[in-house]
């Protein structure tokens, strides 16, 4: 690998604000501990090694893993028994509502709550002055207040909160809180943000409306492009979208007479919420308990603290009564943190034999009013593009700006869905230019396993080539591509995604995930873990691992999760980290106990511990299972008699990974998942309506611990990508004669159109298992990766069908129709069709060529 050239300007915005704050974007070797002292490398936690490795079953074969088990909480959900945050009602509980700004950008001159406070049944009103402390998920970009103190930055920004006897009364009281505003010029788009630095959206920015700028270059991009046989340029627009979970944000705060705060919240990051509550409320962390009830969907939209959590807590502290806040659907649109709108310009080179050469990207990102995860988003927009294809040289220049709109953040596939769309369209265009099948181009450039990307990311297992084979076969690609009648088409795209990041959001040397496991004499196990099940099934993963290791039925395992009083820290449900990290922690805890149980039985029966099998509630020796046999309950009792009370802990901390340059750890993951999609579309050229009839999704998840859950994630991801491609637009009305800018176009699920089941394509999930050496039983992520290729696969399919290039989202009928009328689509379609006959260039070919990566020119590889 060529040495990366980091052209980044000197840090400004990221500079730590506190003297002892750790480095923002540490290099692989420069991790620090709180207090600023380096921790010696040899002192770092090292995960235990297990004979046979982590990828293998504890016995000869799997008994639980890989079976189509129910999710352990599934019945409670479908029978209505699961307790969500809004199901919680405490005695004497008050209800609170937030007063929100009616201006996109305005100074708050005065807030007069006297009339509201005079209403019978209204108990308290708080404003920004009551919660002045700044917070934010990324420690060095903390630019949010629970309630705006001096100015509001978008229509819907929270200004005050009122607690009353009922929700209705609180809503009525909002109308009696009078806010005097001084409207300010509002920034509504990327260009305005850059052209008007003087209209400053966010005073915490380092300069103008700049949220973050990253420029990284790996290898000689200009030289590679100059030496290419073809270079294609393209400008793309990725529209913003929001998560739209079924459950709106909700929390209940209960500050008791002893000064102890309990907060139930629909969050996916209980631990980070715990930390920020302490900071903003000025309450010691050890006097706060955060509990995550069952969550009704999150998708990244609940992965940081929100105004409601601080306000409910503060109002509970003021009134001495429990306080609930439930966001309306409209407020969920304002809380947002959804997909960033991005303008992406790519130049990509290729050789006649299909080898990708240089990739040059310029990306502008609309961040909304606050930072959120924006620092990471800006890096991810470039850093996560460097697999599954090898590229000789790569440069990206990404700029995130502040605008007067709800804050964007991490939505499923954080930061990398937008560039993936653009890049996979680029590859399709390049394939057309050189007359090569687009699957073949992807296959030839597949980076392979156990290698390194051009930006220094370590790739371990990699089943991408097999994913391509699977979708090619399942979709009957060879008989369809460029061969279907006008109006019908197929398209392909690929992607990769992280299985967790190798750093915690606040740098520290403690584990990223911890598990405590308790075995009971009754033959029951309880797993205590901070992990956050948001519907993806991590609770079930924990139970399955324990069941596999200790021979229990799934029903005999209790999972106690995401309760900061009861469970060890897990960082939460984001960046597709749970199965990999918490799974590893749980595997260690369970194996420690399994060793004790197996050792006890081996001593009793005089055999080797490796000869003990625990499965299906039975413990036996493989040597003489008829006679050397007992229930696992008896085995636990024998073990407890020998070792004392049975319990264990397990933890996971990823190896230090990433490139040795500023920002080089961002995008580094202990394992990457890979995906390929083929989409098939039927288009109506008269109306511009595109029906996506099928998406074949092949995903390398390492090993499917629960195939039915993995398929659910694959289908859900492909659906969500399809939704962004075809329908969703998180957009705002421009200023007009009688109203100002920044009004959401339609903050409801009627106007913000997520596709119904009738609109949804037939989704075919094809699981590919590459068995990762470091994943729990070889597992990698499945929750976010399979979203990425949906969008470009559909765009490429529309091109195959109609001869138009959809470079802007969404591909809704008005846009498709205007593209059809803009040029001679039919001629473009005929031309593309003419190129299909071109046989693949001799040389590296066949389905296995890309897999090993051997025999390639090696540019960009280590």
């Amino acid at each position: 690998m060529k040495a990366p050239r980091n052209n980044e300007p000197p840090p400004k915005g990221d500079a730590p604000r506190k003297r002892d704050a750790p480095q923002a974007e540490s290099t692989a070797t420069g991790m620090k501990v709180p207090g600023g002292r380096d921790m010696p490398r040899e002192d770092r936690l090292k995960p235990p090694q297990w004979p046979g490795g982590r990828a293998q079953p504890p016995g000869a074969s799997f008994h639980v893993i890989g079976r189509r088990n129910r999710k352990i909480e599934g019945l409670a959900k479908v029978t209505g028994r699961a307790i969500y945050a809004d199901d919680i009602a405490l005695p004497r509980m008050l209800h609170a509502k937030l007063k929100r700004s009616i201006h996109a950008h305005a100074r708050i001159v005065r807030i007069d709550a006297r009339e509201a406070l005079a209403m019978p049944g209204v108990h308290a009103v708080i404003t920004g002055r009551d919660l002045p402390e700044y917070f934010g998920i990324i420690p060095w970009t903390q630019d949010e207040q629970a309630l705006c103190e001096t100015k509001a930055r978008y229509v819907g920004d929270a200004i005050a909160a009122v607690a009353a006897d009922s929700e209705w009364l609180a809503e009525e009281a909002l109308k009696r809180i009078h806010v005097e505003y001084e409207p300010l010029p509002a920034i509504t788009c990327i260009d305005e943000a850059l052209e008007h630095p003087e209209w400053r959206v966010n005073e915490k920015s380092s300069e103008g409306n700049l949220s973050k700028h990253v420029h990284l270059e790996f290898g000689d991009v200009d030289g590679e492009l100059a030496g290419s046989d073809a270079v294609v340029g393209g400008d793309y627009w990725y529209e913003g979208s929001t998560h739209a979970p079924i459950e709106p944000h909700c929390c209940v705060a209960d500050f008791d007479a002893t000064g102890f705060l309990t907060l139930y919240s629909s969050t996916q990051v209980a631990h980070y919420l715990h930390r920020d509550l302490a900071k903003v409320l000025g309450v010691k962390a050890q006097r706060i308990r955060v509990i995550q009830p069952v969550v009704g969907g999150a998708f990244g939209g609940k992965s940081e603290p929100f105004s409601l959590e601080f306000c409910a807590a503060k109002l509970s502290m003021q009134t001495g009564r429990p306080v609930k806040i439930l966001y309306t659907r409209e407020e969920v649109f304002y809380a947002h943190r959804g997909r960033h709108p991005m303008r992406l310009c790519y130049r990509t080179g290729i050789r006649r034999d299909g080898t990708l050469t240089g990739v040059d990207a310029r990306i502008a990102i609309d961040g909304g009013a606050y930072s959120s995860f924006g620092l990471v988003t800006t890096y991810y927009s470039g850093q996560l593009l460097t697999a599954p294809y090898r590229m000789s040289a790569y440069r990206f220049d990404s700029t995130r700006v502040f605008t007067n709109k709800p804050c964007c953040g991490p939505k499923r596939g954080h930061g990398s869905v937008q560039p993936r769309f653009a890049f996979e369209c680029q590859i399709d265009k390049l394939a057309e230019v050189i007359g090569m099948d687009p699957i073949e181009v992807r296959r030839r450039n597949s980076i392979g396993e156990h290698t390194r990307t051009v930006n220094g990311m370590r790739i371990t297992s990699n089943g991408f080539a097999e994913c391509l084979d699977e979708v090619e076969r399942a979709s009957d690609w060879k008989r369809k591509f460029r061969r279907l009648p006008y109006g019908r088409g197929v398209g392909v795209a690929g992607s990769m995604y992280i299985s967790g990041t190798n750093y915690c959001i606040y740098p520290n040397e403690m584990p990223q995930s911890g598990v405590q496991l308790k075995l009971d004499r009754s033959g029951r196990a309880t797993v205590f873990c901070g992990a956050s099940d948001i519907g993806q099934g991590v609770d079930s993963v924990l139970a399955m691992i324990v069941a596999e290791e200790l021979g229990l039925d799934l029903g005999d395992i209790r999972v106690v999760a995401a309760d900061t009083d009861l469970t060890p820290v897990d960082l939460g449900s984001y960046s597709s980290r749970e199965t990999f990290m918490v799974g590893n922690a749980c595997l260690d805890a369970a194996r420690k106990l399994r060793e004790q149980v197996a050792g006890t039985l081996a001593a009793r029966w005089g055999c080797a511990a490796s000869e003990i099998t625990l499965a299906g509630g039975v413990a036996c020796s493989v040597r003489d299972p008829e006679r050397e046999c007992m229930s696992v309950r008896e085995a636990f009792q024998a073990t407890e008699a020998r070792h004392g009370t049975l319990g264990s802990v397990g933890w996971y901390q990823s190896p230090k990974l990433g490139g040795d340059y500023r920002g080089g750890t961002i995008g580094a993951s202990p394992a990457y998942s890979f995906t390929a999609h083929v989409a098939e579309v039927e288009c109506d050229p008269e109306t511009g309506f595109v029906r996506v009839s099928n998406i074949w999704v092949a995903h390398d998840c390492g090993r499917a611990l629960s195939p039915v859950a993995v398929e659910g994630q694959m289908e859900g991801s492909a659906y969500m990508g399809f939704a962004e491609a075809m329908f969703e637009q998180h957009v705002f009305k421009p200023a007009a004669v009688h109203h100002g800018p920044g009004l959401h176009d339609g903050p409801s699920l009627l106007d913000y159109r997520i596709p119904t089941s009738l609109d949804t394509p037939d989704l075919v999930s094809l699981i590919v298992e590459s068995v990762d050496p470091e994943g729990p039983y070889g597992a990698k992520e499945a929750g976010e990766g399979p979203l990425h290729p949906s969008v470009p696969a559909i765009a490429n399919a529309i091109h195959d069908a109609l001869g138009i290039r959809c470079d802007r989202l969404p591909f809704h009928p008005p846009r498709v129709l205007s593209l059809l009328r803009a040029g001679d689509a039919r001629a473009a379609w005929e031309k593309a069709r003419g190129r299909v006959a071109t046989a693949p260039v001799a040389g590296v070919g066949g389905s296995g060529a890309g897999r090993s990566g051997a025999g390639r020119s090696g540019a960009g590889a280590c």
């Binding site: 511009g688 339609g746 159109r753």
Partner: protein, 328 residues
Amino acid sequence: MLTLPAFEWLRPANLDDALAHLANHAAESLVVAGGTDAVPNLKHRLHEPRWIVHLGRLDELRFVRESEGALSIGPLVTLSAIARHEGIRRDFPSLARAASLVASPQIRNMGTLGGNLCLDTRCTYYNQTYFWRDALGFCLKKDGVRCHVVPQGRRCVAAHSSDVSPVLISLDASVDISNARGSRTVPVDEFFVGDGVHNNVLVPGELVTRVTIPAASRGLRAAYQKLRPRAAIDFPMLSVAFAARVSDGGCEHARLVVSALGAKPRRIGGLDALVKGRPLDDALGEALAEAAYRQCRPLTNVAYDDAYRHEMVPVFVRRAVREAGGIA
């Protein structure tokens, strides 16, 4: 979540009781049948009535009667019942079709014919929460004085969004309207007025008590086409109802109604001269499409590209004519 405003709940036992209440308190009352439109509108504070008059117990308004003279339907018949009804499917398939395209199965199970007929007009600046409308500065349909669709406009242009109404006009249906003093009959074609604030002829105290489709409309070649972004849920962005009497000598008479563009359904004019004696074929479809395109002017009242909606008028008219003509 959004709360409902405070109101008193009335559930009259029969039509006379309902009309008696309305005779005195119509201005302060909201009449609700299925509630599928009223409830979200209440949550948005678009209606703030003192009384809600629920018609659920008025079984006398829940009927489908087929007679030689006509088909009459009670306003409380649900949309799913209409979509399912054998006689309606046989004789008036475009009506069954329109009912089946409303929203979603759950909403059709609750929503009624009368409710859909009297559906409040819709606008991207109106069907929003109180907060949103406050941020907007309100509009002349509710709480404000300005129109945001037509900035100089003094008349509300919120979109008529009923699926069944254009079809009923195309089928020459009429409605019986009652109040405490008596009743009158109005052709559906004359039921709507071009004022988005209140787009029908009902005066305070009146209720629709019957919808009648004349026997003469049996055997019309009819069709309904609806433009909606999603395959369910959405209100029409554009709707087209077409019905023609065709004999051996070609078309005798036709009605073409285009709606979801303005406050009332637009009946395309000058049709008799166009269709008389011509076969119901693509050439006629083209002529009708052109006439409709010229006569329709979509506005930005619904959140969908208005130029595109205009472009789709001829497309959907052609499709309606093809469907009516049974052209594959």
